[in-house]
Amino acid sequence: MKKLGACLVVALAFFLVATALPAQEAVSRSSAWTTSTTPSQGEPRGYVQYTNDCSMCHGEGVGKPGTLALQAKYKGAVPALLDKRTDLTQALIKQYVRNGISIMPIFRKTEISDADLDAIAAYLTRNNKP
């Protein structure tokens, strides 16, 4: 229970400031990735979550089917890398994560919590023009 409480607090805190992304956020993750690396201390949470949950398919480099698929779909009209995009909306991101698309499957809340998804959405829309 203590753990859940901490998580909720972090989630709430994040929600309040999500529009203006804090440069430094204390990442006190305790649920989904207790056992894994965070990219480096002090990175924004959305970046951390994106790295852990999305980049193995949508990242840079070889063997990234998500990036390949978007390259094939848009043929360079928009960047194939999700985190270079400036046209994604938070609603759309959530739609894909929770419903899947093509061979991208659905992600459950035990994999990517709503709070994590908010953070990812915030990260991927950080450079959007207002």
């Binding site: 063997g63 929770r98 093509s102 061979i103 659905i106 994999e111």
Partner: protein
């Protein structure tokens, strides 16, 4: 809200309340929107009324919580369906076999309890993924490799219980075989440890598999006899070096001695990585280069763009033809090839490869290509270049097979794997191709001209191929029907599937029918004894609890 079969709405509401007390309100999912996240993203029944879906999901965060959930389920006779990471796409994902079951989602139990470098093992919970374990090991700088399956987001526990495979040395790439020690919550809610773990002060739970008395771990693989909450795995020490080399043979019939020699070399541990069969002539790529070809913007099918060859292949229709043999000889293209991998000391790798060449030299016209030599660990640059699972690095690259790409502009929405086990002989490969090509013709399926098996297991082949899942219900229906026919065709030839998606589990278990289904009846006797209320994973791998069997008959 959907209610599990045979459970009253009021009982279910009561159970949900108790689940909430057990795991916390936020970890019981009942809204249609949340429960939909547990659908099988690759379900061939997607959108049909008989799609297999959950009524709710419960996500405990520890073994005590699992025990509580199981006890509540017993009280109200609620079918529950454990998933670990729920990412075995193509084999069922996170959806239950019995619609209306409550999914027991173990993803939150993602603790890495121990990684021992000196004795090379790990003890983990079911929610730990290959990515998690890999990152943990990297972060600690341990000289250990994890044998990963193609999709790195899978769970070592889930994959091994489903008896999946990988790429490293034989004893590691057979994932169930590489486990050592289990903790299981039984259907009555009791927690049990197997092997040396049953000894309260055990020092060797992850070092000796079978303990004392009957060794029952296998009962919890591909089954519904318990919820595995911890499991140990033997890891591979990082080798000194890696070497690969490719053997190329010129004629169709050379596949037979190629496989025989390969078996000798693999069974004596001369080559100790996953052998990789291919056909330069027919354009069948190596498994280890399959995904990389998408990155190169090419199709995975790699053969000379030559009209004469295309015509000859079409004419041969998957069979032996002297013209194809002649063409291969004339153009100097190998008919078959096999890439061998060697993990070990630099000099031993070289000596093993030299010996392998000597053995293959008995095949007239054989050629050899020197492959990669890496002193390990890999440099950052090498890591980008290699087929990652062969170096214990998890990846998702294999999903390129179905994703949109240059050669696949209209991607599928998923796939289901047809995966029969065939003998490890060249003759069996030829026969399987003949049989399945004939069946495909009869079923009106588009098929590759020839299929080569995978070599995840050291003593048998898997003749695996993917059926696409698409958005169109009619096409899916037809594919499901064809899949069922192929199960029977395979069984008629003595080939059984090693694993399958829930939709086909009954059909496949039915083919394992020796002596009037003695094995299934045995499972049912055990099931009724240890899970009298039939709450765990009803129907998984064809094993149904008594009340469902009686209702069916």
């Amino acid at each position: 809200m959907r209610v599990p079969p045979g459970v009253s709405a009021s009982d279910f509401a009561e159970a949900i309340k108790q689940f909430q007390e057990a795991v916390g309100k936020e970890w019981v999912f009942t809204s249609a929107e949340d429960v939909a996240l547990y659908r099988d993203a690759y379900s061939p029944l997607m959108g049909e009324p008989n799609e297999l879906v959950a009524s709710a999901a419960v996500a405990p965060d520890g073994v005590e919580q699992v025990q509580k959930v199981v006890k509540i389920a017993n009280r109200y006779k609620i079918p529950i369906y454990p998933v670990s990471t729920g990412k075995n796409l193509g084999y069922g994902g996170s959806a239950p076999v019995l619609s209306g079951s409550v999914v027991l989602d173990l993803k939150r139990m993602n603790r890495i309890l121990e990684v021992n470098e000196r004795n090379a093992y790990a003890l983990v919970e079911p929610g730990v993924s290959y990515f998690d374990l890999y990152r943990y090991i990297q972060e600690k700088g341990l000289k250990l490799w994890v044998d990963v399956p193609d999709p790195g987001w899978g769970s070592p526990i889930g994959n091994s219980l489903d008896r999946g495979g990988g790429y490293l040395m034989p004893q590691y790439r057979n994932h169930f075989d590489s486990h050592c020690g289990m903790e299981v919550v039984l259907a009555n809610g009791e927690v049990m440890r197997t092997g040396m773990g049953a000894l309260p002060a055990a020092q060797t739970w992850q070092e000796y598999k079978s303990g004392f008395g009957p060794w029952i771990d296998g009962m919890f693989s591909q089954s519904n006899f318990g919820v595995v909450t911890k499991m140990g795995f033997w890891l591979m020490p990082e080798p000194d070096a890696y070497l690969s080399g490719t053997v190329i043979v010129p004629r169709h019939d050379d596949l037979i001695p190629l496989v025989n020699t390969l078996n000798y070399l693999e069974n004596t541990r001369v080559t100790n990585g996953m052998p990789d069969l291919a056909s330069p002539l027919l354009g069948i790529p190596m498994l280890s280069e399959f995904a990389a070809r998408f990155d190169q913007g090419a199709t995975p099918f790699d053969r000379p763009q030559d009209a004469e060859l295309t015509a000859l292949i079409a004419k041969a229709g998957g069979n032996m033809s002297p013209e194809l043999d002649d063409y291969a000889q004339k153009k100097g293209i190998g008919y078959w090839s096999c890439k061998l991998s060697f993990y070990g000391a630099t000099k031993a790798n070289a000596a093993n490869w030299a010996y392998a060449k000597e053995k293959f030299s008995a095949i007239p016209g054989v050629k050899f290509e020197e492959g990669d030599v890496y002193k390990l660990p890999l440099t950052a640059e090498q890591r980008e270049k290699v087929h990652k699972p062969q170096f214990g690095i998890p990846s998702l690259a294999m999903f390129s097979i179905g994703a949109r790409s240059a050669m696949n502009p209209e991607p599928s929405t998923g796939h289901m794997w047809f995966s029969p086990i065939i003998p490890r002989t060249g003759e069996a490969i030829f026969e399987a191709n003949r049989v399945f090509a004939q069946a495909a013709k009869e079923l009106g399926l588009p098929f590759l001209n020839f299929n080569l098996p995978s070599t995840y297991w050291e003593r048998a082949f898997i003749f695996i191929f993917a059926f696409p899942v698409v958005k169109d219900i009619e096409t899916n229906k037809k594919n499901v029907a064809s899949f069922r026919k192929l199960i029977q065709v395979a069984a008629d030839h003595g080939w059984g599937e090693y694993r399958t998606a829930p939709v086909f589990q009954d059909a496949i278990m039915n083919t394992y029918s020796f002596n009037n289904h003695a094995l299934l009846h045995f499972h049912e006797t055990v099931k009724d004894a240890i899970d009298p209320n039939g709450i765990l994973s009803a129907g998984r791998y064809g094993i149904w609890p008594k009340h469902v069997r009686e209702a069916k008959s």
